[in-house]
């Protein structure tokens, strides 16, 4: 156990097999405190399965997932108390109002009740522009609003590690900007953020280091400069690097063939 160490998240040779299909094959990486770590990959590359192994929803066939030095399966209580995970479709209860849901999650994590908690909840609802919808049930919210209430339910308890699967999915530009600013601020205060996204501009702008997954394995990890060096192209954008590292059939040729 090393709760004082710099590493907040560590994947050690994570492997997940479903029958004969290997969804994730020996994935290893570390995320430090105060770092936003980008996690990229094509659809079906194994990103979500990796995130779910890290947060304890899916048990790895092999390997270890450590949160603040605690193995999520060997020491689940300690690891889970430090962790916040937001799924691409947030796990919410449609028959609760926003404040009721945040309150429920706070209780599950044994966050002390009282004025301080109430004030924090009020501030979060205001920040995500949900105060005016406080009396309404989550079932009536739009996808973006559900995403925001999911984020608010994470932030009410200040976890030291955030695992976010497409957090800006469905958000309007203003809210997406808010989330980006918030993540930067949280990271500057020491929170480790593992961010899975398809929006490469967001990853390039926010993340200090990036891992690119393809067919269940990590094909590259590093800062933008390190990735450029690996790809042998000093001027390449993240999109160029991503396409080069996850090379599929040449799309131009396929499009020409289809339209000819």
């Amino acid at each position: 156990m090393s709760s004082q160490g710099a590493t907040a998240v560590e994947a050690r040779g994570l492997l997940k097999r479903y029958g004969v299909v290997v969804a994730v094959n020996g994935v290893s990486f570390r995320v430090d405190r105060g770092e936003i770590f980008g996690f990229l990959g094509a659809n079906g590359a194994g990103k979500t399965t990796t995130l779910r192994m890290l947060c304890g929803l899916v048990r790895p066939t092999q390997g270890q997932a450590l949160i603040d030095g605690f193995d999520i399966f060997a020491k689940p209580m300690e690891a889970k108390a430090r962790l916040g995970y937001l799924d691409e479709e947030p796990f919410v209860h449609p028959h609760l109002t926003g404040p009721e849901f945040i309150d429920y999650v706070a209780d599950l994590y044994r966050m002390p009740r009282g004025r301080e908690r109430q004030q924090r909840m009020d501030r979060l609802l205001e920040l995500f522009e949900l105060s005016s919808r406080s009396a309404e049930l989550i079932g009536t919210y739009s996808h973006g609003m559900r995403q925001k209430i999911g984020l608010a339910s994470l932030l009410i308890r200040e976890p030291s590690v955030l695992l976010l699967d497409e957090p800006t999915n469905g958000l309007d530009p203003r809210s997406a900007r808010l989330v980006k600013d918030l993540l930067e601020e949280l990271a500057s205060r020491g929170t480790a953020v593992l961010l899975s996204t398809h929006i490469l501009e967001v990853a390039q702008a926010l993340c200090r280091r990036i891992a690119i997954m393809d067919h269940g394995v990590i094909v590259a990890t590093g800062t933008m400069d390190e990735l450029r060096a690996k790809a042998g192209s000093a001027q390449a954008t993240l999109e160029d690097l991503f396409l080069r590292l996850t090379a599929g059939p040449e799309s131009k040729a396929l499009i020409d063939q289809l339209l000819s």
């Binding site: 449609p94 044994r110 009740r113 004025r115 009396a135």
Partner: protein, 552 residues
């Protein structure tokens, strides 16, 4: 109308159905087929044999049997079939695709009606076997079997059309968000009431022989109902009354044409409205906009209390779950009245009430407690990520379910005990038993919901898979039998201790009485062990749960 389009809709759905059954092993289909054939032989053979025997030896029962079979099919379809009809006619991304494609609503209606009939295969099969058995017992001509089979198929289509028609009408009159739940509630409650009324009419009580004159009487009373017409038509075929059979046959066919035609017409007009209203994932009460409650400033931050509080809030706001609880409660009270008749012969009033309490607590716990864990749906993943153990979750669920269920069962027990003119000591015993059984059955109910949960099921009745249901029925019967046996042994021991003769005139030594009490304690402990073993298995299953999150 294009027949090829209808065929395509049906073919694609059947292919999807087959893929779901086969999953990744084609041997699954062979196993399922073998299981189905075996089940068909056992279930079909039983109903065929019963009907054949009754028809041979009690010829005056033939018409009531035929009328009863078709009426029962209709009633059961009305009670349980509405969610299927909604799912087939108004919900689904595949349906959205059909609406977007150049397909006529009438083609969608016919395709979907045939698919909806698939859900009633078991009911239809049992009815068909019963009707064919009635014919076989009466030495019916070959034409009877042909007409009988066609009538069963037609009846299924007619009831489906009637349900679709009702849904279309509900769509016109009821506020959008409540349309689905209002139709389910109306159908379930009317079905439950008809069924309970039927049971009361039959007057078949525990400890008495079935009184078939009740069935004859009931059949006479429902003569005018269209559900009885196919029964009359077939009965006339058996009697060789050609004109009468043709008359009933024509009436049935006319009704089928009217019903199916009207349903197709109204469906074409309301399909788009229905898609918008029924396709929603949750039914919500309309809430008055107001100042939100200050929720976080007081109370305790215990996860157990938080789960119970959340369950309470969501249950009372979930119209769909409430609407399905109502028929269960009607059934329960119906049965309470049905069983609670002055018993004669060997079974005294006290024991009659004891069986009633056992039945009621088992029934209500199966209806309510089994859905406690699966009703978390996607929220279950939230619990798995939280720093709580699954034992804690089960404890919260058992405590939350136990309070209302045990309270209700205890109230019913005291009521029937007083109405049954039991003395205060008996009332006390019945109340203690109600609490004991209620706790055990609730714990078993919650456990089976955790052992085989279906988090993606929208209907409470389908939230537990077949394995869980089997385990649940077995455990409840085991726990109930062990408890009642222990209780009986204690009663025998008391008789022995008091020096009263127990079996006839035989007086048993007091030492045996003490051994009997020890035996009763062992039996009761075995009952408790059943409950705790099940809770342990449930906790371990939940800890290792790893089904697709997308499906929750």
């Amino acid at each position: 109308m294009n027949g090829a389009t209808v065929a395509l809709i049906v073919r694609i759905e059947l292919r999807a159905w087959r893929n779901r059954l086969v999953k990744d092993r084609s041997s699954r289909l062979a196993m399922l087929a073998a299981f189905l054939v075996l089940g068909a032989i056992v279930i079909g053979g039983t109903f065929f044999g019963l009907a054949d025997g009754a028809s041979q030896f009690l010829p005056y029962l033939r018409e009531p049997m035929l009328v009863g079979a078709f009426s029962a099919l209709s009633i059961l379809m009305l009670v349980v079939g509405f969610p299927t009809v909604i799912a087939n006619f108004f919900v689904g991304t595949d349906l959205m695709q059909l609406v977007l494609a150049p397909v006529r609503p009438i083609e969608i209606f016919i395709g979907r009606a045939l698919l909806a009939a698939r859900a009633n295969l078991l009911l239809g099969f049992v009815t068909a076997m019963f009707v064919l058995g009635t014919g076989a017992g009466a030495g019916a001509p070959p034409l009877f079997y042909l007409i009988a089979f066609a009538f069963v198929v037609l009846q299924v289509l007619m009831v489906t059309a009637l349900q679709t028609l009702l849904l279309c009408l509900v769509l016109q009159w009821v506020p959008a968000r409540l349309a689905r739940d209002v139709s389910v509630a109306v159908a379930s409650i009317s079905g439950a009431l008809i069924y309970v009324a039927w049971q009361l009419t039959l007057r078949q009580t525990l400890g008495r022989r079935p009184n078939v004159s009740g069935l004859v009487e009931f059949a006479r009373r429902i003569d005018w109902l269209p559900t009885a017409w196919p029964g009359h038509a077939l009965s006339s075929v058996l009697d060789g009354a050609v004109i009468t059979s043709l008359l009933w046959l024509s009436l049935t066919l006319l009704l089928a044409v009217v019903l199916i035609g009207a349903a197709a017409y109204f469906y074409s007009r309301t399909l788009l409205t229905g898609l918008g209203q029924f396709a929603g994932t949750s039914a919500l009460w309309r809430r008055r906009a107001g100042k939100p409650r200050r929720v976080a400033s007081e109370g305790t931050e215990s996860p157990d209390v938080a789960i119970a509080r959340k369950d309470w809030i969501t249950y009372r706001r979930d119209v769909r779950r409430l609407s399905r609880l109502l028929p269960a409660v009607i059934f329960m009270f119906g049965y309470a009245v049905f069983f609670n008749r002055p018993a004669g012969g060997a079974i005294g009033s006290f024991w009659n009430n004891m069986f009633l309490i056992a039945f009621v607590s088992m029934f209500i716990s199966m209806a309510v407690a089994t859905s406690a864990v699966p009703s978390e749906r996607r929220g279950f993943q939230l619990l798995r990520m939280a720093p709580i153990t699954m034992t804690q979750l089960l404890r919260a669920k058992v405590l939350f379910s136990m309070l209302p269920i045990v309270g209700l069962v205890a109230a019913i027990s005291v009521g029937v005990a007083i109405l049954g003119r039991n003395n205060p000591a008996d009332v006390l015993q019945l109340t203690v038993m109600a609490l004991w059984l209620g706790f055990g059955f609730v714990a078993i109910g919650v456990s089976v919901g955790a052992i085989d949960p279906r988090f993606d099921a929208l209907d409470d009745r389908r939230m537990v898979g077949p394995l869980g249901t089997l385990v649940g029925v077995g455990a409840e019967l085991g726990f109930g039998a062990l408890t009642l046996l222990a209780f009986t042994v204690v009663h025998v021991a008391i008789q022995v201790y008091a020096g009263h003769p127990v079996f006839g005139d035989v007086t048993i030594p007091v030492g045996v009485g003490i051994a009997l009490v020890a035996g009763a304690l062992i039996l009761a402990a075995a009952g408790v062990a059943v409950v705790f073993v099940l809770l342990r298995i449930a906790a371990s299953k939940l800890e290792g749960f790893e089904a697709s999150i997308a499906s929750t």
